[in-house]
Symmetry: C2
Subunit: 264 residues, 2 copies
Amino acid sequence: MYTKIVSVYGYGRFGKVWADILAENFHVKVYSRRGLKSEEVSPGIEIANKRSIYDCDALFFCVAISSFEEVLKKSSRHCNKGTVFFDTCSVKVFPAKWMKKYLPEGSTIIATHPMFGPDSYLQTERKLPIVMCNVNADQETIEEWAGYFKSKSLQIEIMTAEKHDQMTAYSQGITHYVGRVLADLDLHPTLIDTLGYHKVLEVIEQTCNDSWQLFLDLQNYNPYGKKMRESLRESVERVNSALQEESNDIEPHETINKDQKKGE
Amino acid sequence: MYTKIVSVYGYGRFGKVWADILAENFHVKVYSRRGLKSEEVSPGIEIANKRSIYDCDALFFCVAISSFEEVLKKSSRHCNKGTVFFDTCSVKVFPAKWMKKYLPEGSTIIATHPMFGPDSYLQTERKLPIVMCNVNADQETIEEWAGYFKSKSLQIEIMTAEKHDQMTAYSQGITHYVGRVLADLDLHPTLIDTLGYHKVLEVIEQTCNDSWQLFLDLQNYNPYGKKMRESLRESVERVNSALQEESNDIEPHETINKDQKKGE
């Protein structure tokens, strides 16, 4: 049986785990702009150079969202029409638009978002979702790759890039935003953690293990990110109003607060 | 051996679980201002009336923080000096002050905060903490009760009411605040949840299972609550500034946002 050659362009935290998964079934090539040493790459995986990485049946771009447009501009003239192109970015509207713009005309393009990272891939027993957005692919290719992802125990969700970004602004996007805000407060485990606080600390850990650049990109390159953060601000204001209203009736509290201010 | 009579005043979500725990070792009486039917109370537990509840060796007040001062005012003249008084409120500065003010002079008073609720008590394998603040008790009584709590597999933490409130503003307080703000956004599980978002949903569930009144009281009766919420607001602003700074460099994003506004 013919073994497909699958390239992974970009070898950061996600690229590495993704290459290892693909290598269970394909001949995998990897390339990173920073250069790769053989000891960082799992046995059996080929380290390609900036030309040979494009000679493949399928190519997964695993680069930072904010670098992707530049990578595509440089890749454009080296790409083969026969290759199926994927990105794996955590937002989809921009990457889908860029791939359509820069990859050779008529290329087969599927935008994907494997909804897990190196941490969650190892931690959970749940089926992990992968979103597929058909940018420019025939039904057969979509089904072939959906079948492959399914064989890796991933849960396939096919939707438009717009729908993806709208949904993830209010799930992944809000999670990372809250994680970073709480991390800024420098919270730590205490001797008297409640179970709920324990879960808050897990959210911080889970999100802050990823790079700061990923956080910025997740927020800024999601067209629904700004709206999400505005909605969150409105929720903060509603909760604060409810607290304020109630606290007006609390005489002793008001007194203590005044005392405290004097003492400060 | 003499079996201690221990009263639980207040039979809400926490009072019920606390009475059940105590009933494993003591003769337990319970009382609620709303009146109790025998079928709501576990077998072996006595339903007391508004007078007989005070005839006991130890009395645990398990009432809402915002009701506690009124309860103490009414209880005051019925309380026996020989009783050891405890509260179980989630804040400690106000309850400790109120107990000292309203309970008969010279009463033995220990403010406590069992750091768990009906949900977390059943859910976790971890040792659950209980905070004890010595308001007016001799060392022997403190040790006796600490020994009892230890025998129930609780982790004893002895500290001042001020220290407790300062610590919990930034653990339990922030957890409930974040949980309520996110609940206001009406977030739900989606088909493409990340593990981190799953934990966010758990925080919401964990905190919103408790009453809205507990939330208001936790924030408004913690002298450090306001400061915590201000710090959180400052963190939000710092994160937003970082996002803003970065997004100024993103030309395409700006364009899409403008397009979107036009389309709205």
